[in-house]
């Protein structure tokens, strides 16, 4: 009796999680996959086949966009790591008490407004008649107005800014757990700053680095607003292609196939990243 009751309790507790997984994640994916393997042959006529996936591989435009999106997302991840690591190290190791909380809070404040507002903020700063262009003209650095918006660098700035918090948080957590005496011992044993960073700090922070990188990469790859708004006419981003297939072309079949390819790509990149860094998903995300 008692075991039956506890089993019932277990299943009841499990039910919300299962419902969530099945109804909001698994079922929509099954539906999306079903749409992606139906090829349109005529008005209201569909056949089952992998034609939509073939379209992707036969049209260079699509896989180039795909490759570009992946490459720029990886670049974003690297830049975010390079920028985020010193900040996280400073917060975790070089500050104490209230300063630490304040700095941490300051990293978070921009995320209290929506991504759209943040992106518009960047547009106000970077546009031809914007703050940066005017300030540089006032300072005499440039003679005429300069357009900083609508190029790849602007997309990069936006993406790094959008995702840096998600790099800093896991890094601060892992660096916090590094005992200061380890670093002291490193110096005592004759190490310099560089060797200590390489031999002690980075190996210890590795799970945080990897989980931060995974999150940032996923966020950039799946971002829609930032590349489209900041990139302007050169904003070729794979999520934008999925949007246009679904909304402006009424081509749900191709859009669904693109969606699955994006899922496959991101999984593959994360898998490779874990392999190369020698980490496992449970050791990074499971902490």
């Amino acid at each position: 009796m008692a075991s039956d009751k506890s089993k019932l309790g277990f299943y009841l507790l499990l039910a919300p999680l299962l419902l969530w997984l099945v109804m909001l994640i698994i079922l929509p994916h099954v539906g999306l996959f079903a749409v992606s393997i139906s090829e349109k042959v005529g008005i209201r006529e569909y056949e089952t086949g992998f034609g939509n996936y073939a379209v992707f591989f036969n049209e260079p435009l699509y896989w180039r966009t795909f490759a570009r999106t992946a490459f720029m997302s990886i670049l974003t991840t690297v830049l975010t790591l390079l920028l985020g690591f010193p900040i996280a190290y400073y917060i975790a190791k070089l500050t104490r008490g209230r300063t630490k909380t304040t700095l941490f809070l300051m990293c978070m404040i921009p995320f209290w407004v929506s991504e759209l507002v943040r992106t518009y903020g960047w547009m106000i700063l970077l546009r031809e008649t914007g703050v940066l262009s005017n300030a540089l003209q006032y300072a005499g650095v440039i003679n005429g107005p300069v357009e900083f918006l609508y190029n790849d660098a602007a997309i990069m700035v936006g993406l790094v800014y959008t995702s840096i918090l998600f790099m800093i948080v896991p890094l601060v957590t892992t660096l916090d757990s590094l005992d200061d005496s380890m670093i002291e011992a490193g110096y005592d044993l004759g190490g310099n700053g560089l060797t200590i960073l390489r031999e002690i700090v980075i190996p210890h922070a590795m799970p945080g680095i990897v989980s931060g990188c995974i999150v940032v990469f996923m966020l950039s790859l799946g971002n829609y607003l930032t590349p489209i708004l900041l990139g302007g006419k050169d904003s070729l981003w794979f999520t934008g292609m999925i949007y246009s297939q679904f909304i402006t072309r009424f081509n749900w079949e191709l859009g669904s196939a693109f969606g699955f390819l994006l899922l496959g790509l991101s999984s593959a990149v994360v898998y490779l990243g874990l392999k190369f860094s020698g980490q496992s998903l449970s050791s990074t995300m499971g902490r």
Partner: protein, 353 residues
């Protein structure tokens, strides 16, 4: 038990009785087509409540497709996008002409729209608001821009914007001396036109500052002077003209592109009574004038221009003389499947360097 049941059934009966006379109208429309004051007047007069969702042509069709025509009771896509969507997705239901006060509509527009939105012998659309796409130009800085292809001129390099959507393809087609509408029914001929336009727009890409997406975006680009010549809607040009007399709408030499936004009933709409009430209400001359004053475009209502502000009329007349009006290219219904060709072309232009 029984004493409890009776009040409940009575309550249900009472609720259903009120909902038969006063419904919630879920209106899927464009920005400006359902001004607050018009909604307030309608709610006071009929007892219905109105929920407005603003959208655009593609999103309206996509939304209705996702629900098989549910979720809204009245929608307002352009007249050329109705038959193909009906043919492919079956998201609308026919209009019951007996419930419409036909005398409120300008007869020529009512017949033309009915003809363009007839599918399988049934009429699906009623005309509401009409307007054009053409050029919005800062005449002080880009006075030479008189046709779409002038946007590719070196004199306006880097200060041009247009949408990367089908009207741009069609406008450039006409400006290049081609006739896209005549080729609608011939896929090969249309593809040939698209290829020429693609080459032109790819070459023109260096001139473009950015492709605009929303009406507010292009207005802010023109107002700040970052863009001096663009392909845009007439209302945008007239609104900017109110702030800066240099900027205005110019009807292109090859003809402005004319659209008519309609009333259609989504297939699974639940409040047809309220929808018909709204149509008859919105087409009253006084209400039509109020809608014109906020949306900036004229309506298909008889006498609807009487109450329109004098400023707007003056701007309209400055942009359109009789020849320009006669030269408007009205969108014919888009055959199903044409958007796929255009989509591939637009994708290639977007990817070109």
């Amino acid at each position: 038990m029984e004493t409890r049941l009776i009040p409940t059934t009575m309550l249900i009966a009472a609720l259903s009785a009120t909902s038969a006379s006063a419904d919630t109208l879920r209106l899927l429309t464009w920005g400006g087509y359902a001004p607050e004051e018009v909604i307030a007047m309608f709610e006071a007069e009929t007892g219905h409540t109105v929920e407005v969702t603003t959208s655009n042509n593609e999103e309206m069709i996509a939304k209705l497709r996702a629900t098989n025509g549910g979720g809204f009771d009245l929608a307002q896509p352009s007249q050329d996008r109705i038959t193909s969507a009906q043919e492919e997705f079956g998201i609308y239901k026919p209009i019951d002409m007996t419930r419409i006060d036909a005398a409120q509509f300008i007869p020529s527009m009512l017949t033309a729209t009915a003809a363009n939105t007839t599918f399988d012998g049934e009429v699906y659309g009623l005309p509401h608001v009409w307007g054009t796409s053409g050029l919005v130009v800062n005449t002080a800085q880009a006075g030479d821009v008189t046709d779409y292809t002038d946007l590719c001129d070196a004199s306006v390099a880097g200060k041009v914007s247009y949408r990367l959507k089908r009207p741009t393809l069609i406008g450039f087609g006409y400006a290049m001396g081609l006739d896209p509408f005549a080729a609608y029914s011939d896929t090969d001929a249309y593809q040939a036109i698209l290829d020429q336009v693609e080459a032109k727009l790819t070459e023109c890409k260096a001139n473009v500052k950015t492709y605009w997406d929303g009406g507010d975006e292009i207005k802010s680009l023109l107002r700040s002077g970052e863009v001096v010549a663009s392909m845009a809607w007439d209302t945008g040009g007239w609104q900017l003209n109110a702030d800066d007399p240099d900027i205005t709408f110019v009807a292109p030499a090859s003809g402005a592109l004319g659209w008519i936004d309609t009333f259609v009933l989504p297939a699974r709409g639940r409040a047809d009574d309220a929808a018909y009430d709204w149509i008859n209400f919105a087409m009253r001359p006084d209400i039509a004038a109020m809608i014109t004053n906020t949306a900036g475009n004229f309506t298909a209502a008889v006498g609807g221009d009487a109450g329109v502000s004098a400023d707007l009329k003056a701007r309209y007349q400055a942009s359109f003389d009789q020849a320009a009006i006669d030269n408007i290219k009205w969108y014919p219904p888009v055959p199903a499947g044409l958007e796929a060709l255009e989509g591939a072309t637009l994708d290639r232009i977007n990817a070109a360097n």
